[in-house]
């Protein structure tokens, strides 16, 4: 960890002018630590379930013969755990830490902060109980049954009031770019969640959506694609805008670029949903709109990537020694790669091959592991020594974690690309006699087995890295506090 200078020159904006220790504000770092704990716990659980379901695909007896451990019930548990439990808690951790510092004020209400924390963890526990029991609405990333959906809406409003309340009592006039992205997260997720969760309950555990058929599909992918856009992209871009300049000790490359790519991103993302329904019976015009806007999305996405990468101009040498920057640079690079791959896969002809195959799984994970995972790890390794005012218990481990995770992601995505291309091509291959060249579906499934094992290896490496992080943070937190001089003057 960099035992760096007291202030990042212009990096995280506000602090450059007056470091927090000089200000009379007592930031609420307790809430940041609580979310950090949740990140460690749910991250490990969510990724462990991911490894289990990857094993189930390679070796079916791993379904364990029990209703609540079959792939069909655990897959939603995995996606919900890594997106909302791991990813969500990372966002909240980073937002609570940086928002207070960017606005030079404590969170508006400590009580709402705690309600938000415990409400969110309650939702996660309820999800972990109901999903294995088969209680689901079946919409991807919106599986939770309607009573939990109501609770999510309530907790989200609590978070929103606290966040905008803090903005209202801020002691800095202008809002730094990270906060724009946080605002888009708070507002858009509320709109998407409510819009996609409108149902008529049949029982306490079951409901039916007010939309039917292809309209329901369109609403779901309006939600689903923008869960990627506004849950896994914009808040993490906000974290990038705060933590990357802090870690690199350089100001953001371009203010102009941040304005342009922010507005373009939030406007264009919403349109892209129908690319999940190409070649379906959805009206052609809607499919085409989805495809065109997906392709346009490459520009604002790469705007964000470039603004992140170019922030490192003049600081590239730090990559050699600083694992935090290693994580962040690879994260931003994966963001660039998957936001190139996504638009490409949205081209109708490419989608005809890629849709329904492992390629999509590979694409999702290059974004989820490569972008979300790596930026989260970098943020955590930067944050923990400052939060707890002591060096990491195992300062060499983050570098090992970095290589484990990076190689793990590469194995994962390469295996899934190969598997996806193979099955996509074999499904469609026509023989000289005009018949299917591979008429038996399960034959193709079997040829994918080596790739499934390779994917499992990659995922296991990524999980191992997560466990290293968990143990490192745990030992750091439990370790002895520094006796005299704080190791890191930056810590608030």
């Amino acid at each position: 960890m960099p035992q760096g200078s007291a202030r990042a020159p212009a990096g995280g904006a506000a602090e450059a002018v007056s470091p927090p220790r000089a200000a009379a504000v007592a930031y609420d770092d307790r809430i940041v630590k609580m979310f950090l704990g949740a990140v460690i716990l749910w991250g490990a659980v969510g990724m462990l379930v991911g490894v289990l379901i990857a094993l189930q695909i390679a070796w079916w007896p791993a379904n364990l013969g029990l209703p609540w451990t079959t792939f069909g019930r655990l897959r939603p548990l995995h996606t919900n755990a890594v997106i909302f439990a791991f990813g969500g808690n990372v966002c909240f951790m980073g937002i609570y830490y940086s928002t207070q510092r960017l606005l030079k004020t404590r969170m508006w209400s400590d009580a709402l902060s705690r309600l938000h924390f415990w409400g969110w963890q309650t939702i996660i526990v309820l999800a972990a109980i109901t999903l294995p029991l088969g209680m689901t609405q079946s919409k991807e990333y919106a599986e939770l049954i309607w009573p939990i959906d109501v609770l999510i809406a309530v907790v989200w409003v609590i978070f929103g009031i606290n966040f905008f309340g803090t903005i209202a009592v801020r002691r800095v006039k202008h809002l730094y770019v990270a906060l724009w992205f946080y605002m888009s997260f708070v507002i858009t997720i509320a709109v998407l969640h409510i819009g996609n969760s409108l149902v008529v309950p049949a029982t306490l555990f079951r409901s039916y959506p007010i939309y039917s058929g292809l309209t329901d599909a369109l609403v779901q992918w309006w939600y689903g694609h923008n869960a990627v856009g506004f849950f896994l992209t914009t808040p993490f871009l906000g974290l990038m805008y705060y933590f990357l300049p802090r870690a690199a000790e350089r100001p953001i490359y371009s203010y102009r670029l941040s304005i342009i790519h922010f507005w373009a991103l939030v406007f264009l993302y919403i349109w892209a949903g129908p690319h999940h329904l190409l070649y379906s019976a959805l009206p052609e015009w809607a499919q085409t709109l989805g495809m065109v806007f997906s392709i346009m999305l490459i520009a604002p996405s790469w705007g964000g990537m470039l603004n992140g990468l170019l922030t490192l101009r003049g600081a590239w040498h730090k990559l050699r020694t600083d694992p935090v920057l290693k994580f962040m640079v690879v994260a931003v690079s994966f963001y660039g790669m998957s936001t190139f791959e996504g638009p490409m896969m949205s081209i109708r002809a490419v989608n005809g091959l890629a849709h329904y195959t492992n390629w999509v799984i590979g694409h999702v994970h290059s974004g989820a592991l490569g972008w979300v995972g790596m930026i989260s790890f970098g943020t955590i390794y930067w944050l923990v020594p400052r939060l707890y005012n002591r060096p990491l218990a195992y300062p060499a481990w983050p570098t090992t974690h970095f290589w484990l995770a990076t190689i793990g992601i590469v194995l994962y995505t390469v295996a899934m690309w190969a598997a996806g291309l193979m099955e996509g091509l074999q499904w469609r291959q026509i023989s000289d006699t005009g018949q299917l060249a591979n008429p038996i579906f399960v034959d193709i499934v079997h040829r994918l087995a080596p790739f499934y094992w390779l994917r499992l290896a990659g995922g296991t490496m990524f999980l191992a890295g997560m466990l290293m992080l968990a143990w490192n943070v745990l030992r750091t937190v439990r370790g002895p506090a520094p006796a005299s001089e704080p190791a890191l003057p930056l810590a608030a």
Partner: protein
Amino acid sequence: MAENRESGGESEKGYGQFHRRVFEGRSGVFAVAMTVVILIGGMVEIIPMYSAKAGPGRADWVTPYTPLEVAGRDIYIREGCYLCHSQMVRPMRAELLRYGEWTRAPEYQYDRPFLLGSRRLGPDLQRVGGKYPDAWHFEHMRDPRSTSPGSVMPRYPWLLERALDPEDVRASVKALQRIGTPYTDEDVAGVEASVGAQGAGIVASLATAGIEAEPDREIVALIAYLQRLGQDGRRALVRQAGQTPDPVPARPGGGGQ
């Protein structure tokens, strides 16, 4: 932030003053502007779905699922079948050869929620109705490898044991009626009888294959649903082509030999 403004160097001097004044200094204006911007795309795409001309369209040759099929569909959702099996045959030659006719929009009109799926770990099921006998599905759920050697699907033996609760099925049918699925009040009142009659048909067809099954088991409902999949569309297309309609009854016997 002054340093933020300076971050781009000389070339960006003075840039973004409007943005700073109007948005960054006034969070309320910023939030409202952003809300408007994120609403546009969704509204332009979703609202026309309710127009007869621009939307996916409806047809009278599609009928709602029977109560037993609704129950089977709920089981299909509970077990997460849609996570490995799609219900969407794309208009491509290989898909027509492998699965049958591509899916027409009205075929989904009573689907709440939609179950198009996003991954084919197993084959598409849009046209699986009538493709195999009831007994095949029974054996397949008990042990997928008995009917599809080499399959990686888990076993679902509990479907053969668990019983359906008619009141639970009625609650589903009632909720669907409330949203607009054209069930009559008689349909809701007659759920138990309808479930019994359709279930008896499937039990009888299983018996011809030497399988003894109770009519109130979950497997019976799931078979009813699977045998219904794609049938309305298939029959309509056959009729349209001027051929004799498919003799296979989808309802109420659960169809498909």
